[in-house]
Amino acid sequence: MQQLINTALGGLTLGMVYAAFALALVLIWRSTHVVNFAQAPMAMVTTFVALEIIDHGHSYWLGFAVALAAGLVLGAVVERVVVRPVEGGPEINAVILTLGLFIVLHALASVVFGNRYRSFPAAFGIRGIDVGGTTIALTGFGIFTILAVLAVMTLLVLLFRFTDLGLRMRAAAFNQEVARLLGVRVGRMLTLGWALAALVGSLSGLLIAGGSLVSPGYMDSVVVYGFVAAVLGGLDSPVGAVVGGLFLGLSLSFVSGYVGSQLVALAALAILMAVLFLRPDGLFAPARERRV
């Protein structure tokens, strides 16, 4: 019973992080129809930026804030400089481009920050909390993780639902030509969308890193989990991405706890294939024509 609860709690925490990462992928997919496979190394690079700051004796929170800001800038630069030319072109070009970027950022991080594992601090305790004499698998940092992701999601909802800027961004994502005719600067909105997405991606990178080891490849599997979570939600639904992330986090936690931790990625692949075959528009999509 205790193991069941602990597995579920671990899955919940992890699921929130996958949800954030999936949300980042969805934001980009909705606006530019690109799956940003480079999201993982982008988050890795910003996490290393935070680590450098913290290792130079500054506070955790300064590193945290700078990493998020770096994510914002990196996302904007990547969209404007690299991705813009392939937007609206053949899908395969965009896929290859983001993978090229994946390789570049990976190698760049190895050159600049080194290739070894380094430990990343956590802002809060990473020991389980005591509840009535037994220790449960919910840590202080785990609670922070859940709250941070919830906060970011709330802010995004407020931005998109209730501000003019959010309305412009959505219009640009859904129908570029109409948006332009209504005076929306579509290019700027897409850049901003990538910047916000990269910020959310950076947050998930920081949250995964907290209290564990980081290396240039530490986010590689997360891009797979984030992608699976996003597809579970239909790839263009932010709410779906969050639910998909939680579902995947819980499922993988159970696979890891009861079957074998090495098979987690295989389980994610199996879930992905099951969704793509049974509900290609995601678990929550109304019946529509298949677009995969």
Partner: protein, 371 residues
């Protein structure tokens, strides 16, 4: 002379002539280098074999795969299982079995992949590449876990040694034997792939890539065309993995990370999608460029580990640049440039040669509003 011209004009004849020339070049090159270079040549061959498979899939059929590293792992592990115990199978049998097993896996993955497009397919195969090493770890008893499986490459058969001595008047070293094996495998695989590409099957693959609706109206079964392309491509990756296992003599999860899959894609993109020559050129770059770049890095003051990361940095940058500036790949772009130089009036005709870059796959077409 006229008979030679006639042979040249039949596809198979031309391919056989090129094959004969290739065999000659392989012998000359392998004989003229030392053992260290022979090992490098072997690496180029196994990357080239797998990249050849990938370029057929991506270039001719428009399917992307980030899972070819995992397919190589299937070939390599099969080979390792077959060659690690006494009595060892003859190598050609092991190679063929590994290829067959990988093809069978390719049927399963291909059937799933046939229903997916672009980014979905990329994501699914990416998941495969990330997931497969875990399988080797989980079934550690059979597959050797973290340590991997060691191979015992059998003694070079006596007749091969005799034949080699007869031709070259040198004793054949083990490394060179493996290099020959690798390159002859490459030549055979490329001959088969080139023929397939020019055959009816290849035309169907291209038809499906270019316009699904038109292909279907022309009576082509889309699923079958996609699965067959995937299986052929997987077979090549399996053969490449088998050769890799023989060359490295160790098959371990660390050899088949995501990096390997991305490396293959790099080779294919650098060379120009759909071009076997390009895939080979890409494999050559991936094999020989790193040491040059790494040396440049160390002489610029970087430590060894960091300098070793400069090579992937360069490929990554080149890959991004190729997509942005020269979507036909380096070979395709050179090819087009060469034609333009020779005959400025004629615009390059993408359909004349199976070996030319395939514009349908990468050249950005209309910027239609797809949102």
């Amino acid at each position: 002379m006229r008979r030679l011209a006639a042979v040249w004009h039949s596809t198979l004849g031309r391919h056989l002539l090129v094959t004969a020339a290739a065999v000659l070049v392989v012998v000359l090159v392998v004989e003229s280098v030392d053992d260290f270079r022979a090992v490098q040549l072997t690496q180029m061959a196994y990357l080239g074999i797998a990249a050849g498979g990938l370029t057929v899939l991506t270039g001719l059929n428009g399917q992307i795969s980030l899972g070819h590293g995992a397919l190589m792992a299937v070939g390599a592990y099969t080979t390792a299982l077959l060659v690690s115990d006494d009595p060892v199978l003859p190598l050609p049998v092991a190679l063929l079995t590994a290829t067959a097993v990988t093809s069978a896996v390719g049927v399963v993955i291909g059937a799933a992949a046939a229903r997916l497009r672009g980014p979905y397919l990329a994501g699914a195969t990416l998941a495969l590449a990330v997931a497969l090493p875990g399988v080797a770890l989980h079934f550690g008893e059979t597959l050797g876990g973290e340590q991997g499986l060691r191979l015992r490459v059998p003694e070079t058969p006596g007749w091969v040694l005799d034949a080699a001595y007869f031709v070259t008047a040198h004793d054949l070293t083990r490394s060179k034997y493996v290099a020959y094996l690798a390159w002859f495998t490459l030549v055979v695989v490329y001959l088969l792939l080139a023929n397939l590409a020019r055959s009816r099957v290849g035309r169907r693959w291209r038809a499906v890539r270019d316009d699904e609706v038109a292909a279907e109206l022309a009576g082509i079964h889309l699923g079958r065309a996609r699965v067959s392309a995937f299986v052929v491509s997987a077979a090549a990756a399996g053969a490449g993995g088998a050769v890799m296992a023989l060359a490295v003599r160790l098959t371990a999860p660390t050899g088949f990370t995501l990096t390997l899959s991305l490396t293959l894609l790099t080779a294919v993109v650098l060379g120009g999608l759909g071009s076997l020559t390009g895939a080979l050129a890409g494999a050559a770059l991936l094999t020989f460029l790193p040491s040059v770049i790494t040396d440049a890095g160390t002489s610029a003051g970087l430590d060894d580990i960091r300098a070793a990361e400069l090579a992937p940095l360069v490929y990554g940058v080149v890959m991004v640049a190729v997509v942005l500036l020269a979507p036909r790949g380096l070979v395709g772009t050179l090819h087009a440039g060469w034609r333009r130089l020779r005959n400025p009036a004629v615009t390059p005709d993408p359909t004349t040669s199976a070996d030319a870059a395939s514009p349908g796959a990468t050249v950005a077409t209309s910027k239609g509003d797809t949102r």
